[in-house]
């Protein structure tokens, strides 16, 4: 199995899927000869041509609205939003429209569209190239939301998204693109949407997390072995629907829950995970349901020390582990 970065896995998955299925097209700003600003579609226009790799005008609402139109007319579009911070103009077409196509037409129409969105911080992106935007999508019935953190998951979940008959939002943490490497089988495979994965088994407490924070959590878990704390790390992987059974099972088993995310905490994924645990695992818990996130300020300052202070880190996670384990 060759080792790949996340961005390589994304690119090769799109390439393989486009070879497999003619109805798949890419749309987005600079996805053509530029190959996307992160090079996710590097070379694809050469192989598939301008008809299937479409450099769009600079207008996110139409990128998603046009994609939706092609999707209800026989295509399987993959729309790229250049940075998550620029998805807001497209909310109406995604949350307002695409999510309700199947339900609102009594199943007569479906919208098999994928929207890839590079998100997240720790890249010196300041207020407008660092945002986490998962909350609204994860809240919206009719959408699926995946957030792979490893090259292996990036491939399997992106393939599932592309093959889904309904809209799927694919959140790719841009800091993982080149940072995170891993083995990726060359043959095709899919990972079911809606299934979490235990990335590190443990017995004393569970960290629930996703995205870049998965890697920080794994580091913190490793560091915690020094204090003989055996930490389980559960990668949510899909944010809608959350894998409630996997979450409840792990929390009940270890009895202690630490939820770590990069997004600001109020009304977020970590809130929902805490709520699931508070409802389903109440009698099995032996410590408060703990959340670790950044402060409730606009994410995130551009200057380097403040950005670092804003982001959760392996050290901060370790401190939270230690505190919770002591209870």
């Amino acid at each position: 199995m060759p080792e790949q970065t996340v961005i390589e896995a994304v690119r090769e998955t799109m390439q393989a899927e486009m070879r497999r299925d003619d109805s798949i097209i890419l749309l987005g700003e600079d996805v053509g000869s530029r190959g996307g600003v992160f090079l996710a579609s590097d070379g694809l226009i050469d192989e598939f041509g301008e008809n299937r790799v479409i450099d769009t005008p600079l207008a996110e609402s139409s990128i998603c609205g046009v994609a939706l139109g092609t999707a209800v007319n026989g295509m399987r579009p993959i729309a790229e939003i250049q940075f998550a911070d620029f998805v807001w103009p497209a909310i109406n077409q995604l949350v307002g429209e695409a999510s309700k196509v199947r339900y609102g037409t009594g199943g007569a129409k479906t919208a098999p569209m994928t929207v890839r969105i590079p998100y997240g911080g720790g890249v010196r992106g300041g207020l407008y190239h660092s945002q986490s935007i998962e909350v609204l999508f994860a809240h919206t019935p009719g959408l699926s939301v995946v957030a792979p953190a490893t090259p292996y998951d990036a491939k399997g979940l992106l393939a599932s998204a592309i093959r889904s008959d309904d809209p799927v939002i694919v959140l790719e943490h841009k800091r993982t693109y080149r940072l995170v490497k891993g083995d990726v089988p060359t043959e095709e495979y899919t990972i079911p949407i809606g299934k979490a994965e235990i990335k590190r088994p443990g017995t004393d407490l569970t960290i629930f997390t996703y995205g870049l924070m998965l890697h920080y959590a794994l580091q913190a878990a490793e560091m915690a072995t020094a204090a003989e704390i055996d930490v389980e790390v559960l990668d949510l992987r899909t944010l809608r629907p959350l894998d409630e059974d996997a979450i409840a099972e792990s929390a009940s088993r270890t009895g202690k829950a630490l939820i770590v995310q990069e997004d600001t905490p109020a009304v977020s994924i970590s809130s929902e995970v805490a709520a699931i645990i508070g409802e389903r695992c109440f009698f099995d818990l032996d410590g408060p349901i703990t959340r670790l996130g950044p402060p409730e300020i606009p994410p995130m300052p551009f200057s380097p020390l403040q950005e670092a202070a804003f982001m959760p880190s392996p050290e901060k996670i370790l401190a939270a582990i230690t505190k919770l384990a002591e209870i």
Partner: protein
């Protein structure tokens, strides 16, 4: 047209009786809708409508019973299984749809529908309808711009009744004609009198021909009157002068069309009466049928949702 008018009136009556939750009306827009559809090919073209396309839907073969099932939210409602407002959802037989009430979202979608046809080499045309108010939305601009760049086979059809609910045209735009914007996207814009079936038919035919030939989009603007208030929830005497309201009837497309036909000896008084009485009867029959039908039961509320997990969430939460 006549059938549309009677059915439209009936729907408002059903609203006043407390049976229909809400209704918009096509009264005043009938001629333009019929003439436009006539110039297209429902066996292969696509239609993205908005809530005022009452007549267009009938012209595309929706049965009065089917329409009424929408207004009365009955069990076998064909567009959305009564999940949505009347006339929203997707048509059971032609490729006509209206995903939402949200103004102008259909325009980028239409560009996408047309793009798919273009990529596949199909010669189908996409017709998308919108109002003068909708012209102000960002989505309208983005859609026309995209369609202009890619020379898509799409017809942007604006039914300009000079009002968006209460907001008159001069507060909607600094110009007189929506059609004039087409040059800013690189395709032709045409203004037609929407009470003139011939003119609308000709303009649409030309646009269809252009689109099928691969020459790209056309923007058509048909000027019409909205004879009734915006919807059954509205009262237009709050914002239109009595004079303005009185004068509207001069532009009633039904009267104008029948006058023209009679003047050209294409319609006799007798035939006209026949049409009217047949339409009335048709509406009565449909009303009686649908009125007696049941509402959808609770069981089907979970049909057509995304996936098992969401359903599980529901079962879990409300167990």
């Amino acid at each position: 047209m006549v059938l549309s008018r009677y059915l439209d009136e009936r729907v408002w009556l059903l609203n006043r009786q407390g049976k229909a939750a809400i209704a918009a009306s096509a009264q005043g827009h009938e001629a333009t809708q019929v003439a436009c559809i006539e110039a297209t090919d429902p066996s292969k073209d696509h239609y993205l409508i908005y809530y005022r396309q009452f007549t267009a839907m009938l012209a595309l073969g929706t049965e009065p019973e089917e329409m009424l099932r929408g207004f009365l939210a009955k069990e076998t409602e064909p567009m959305s299984a009564a999940k949505q407002f009347p006339l929203h959802g997707a048509h059971p037989r032609v490729d006509l749809f209206n995903f939402s009430n949200v103004i102008a979202t259909q325009l980028p979608q239409a560009a996408g529908v047309a793009l798919a046809d273009k990529l596949r080499g199909s010669d189908a045309v996409t017709v998308v309808y919108f109002g003068d108010g909708a012209s102000s939305q960002g989505d309208t601009h983005e859609a026309m711009n995209f369609a202009g760049v890619h020379k898509l086979p799409v017809i942007f059809f604006c039914e300009n009744n000079r009002y968006a609910i209460s907001v008159p045209l001069e507060k909607q735009m600094g110009i007189e004609s929506v059609a004039s914007r087409a040059t800013g996207y690189g395709f032709p814009g045409v203004q037609v009198d929407g009470t003139d079936v011939i003119a609308v038919h000709e303009a649409t035919s030309a646009a269809v021909e252009r689109a099928r030939a691969g020459d790209g989009p056309t923007l058509i603007e048909a000027s019409v009157e909205r004879l009734l208030p915006h919807t059954t929830d509205d009262d237009h005497t709050r914002y239109r002068s009595a004079e303005d309201i009185a004068h509207m009837s001069e532009r009633d497309p039904l009267r104008i069309t029948s006058d023209v036909l009679k003047r050209r000896d294409l319609l006799t008084e007798y035939e006209d009466d026949e049409i009217h009485s047949t339409a009335k009867k048709r509406v009565n029959v449909a009303t009686d049928t649908v009125d007696a039908e049941p509402y959808p039961g609770v069981e089907t509320m979970f049909d057509h949702i995304l996936n098992d997990s969401d359903r599980n969430a529901e079962v879990f939460r409300n167990a």
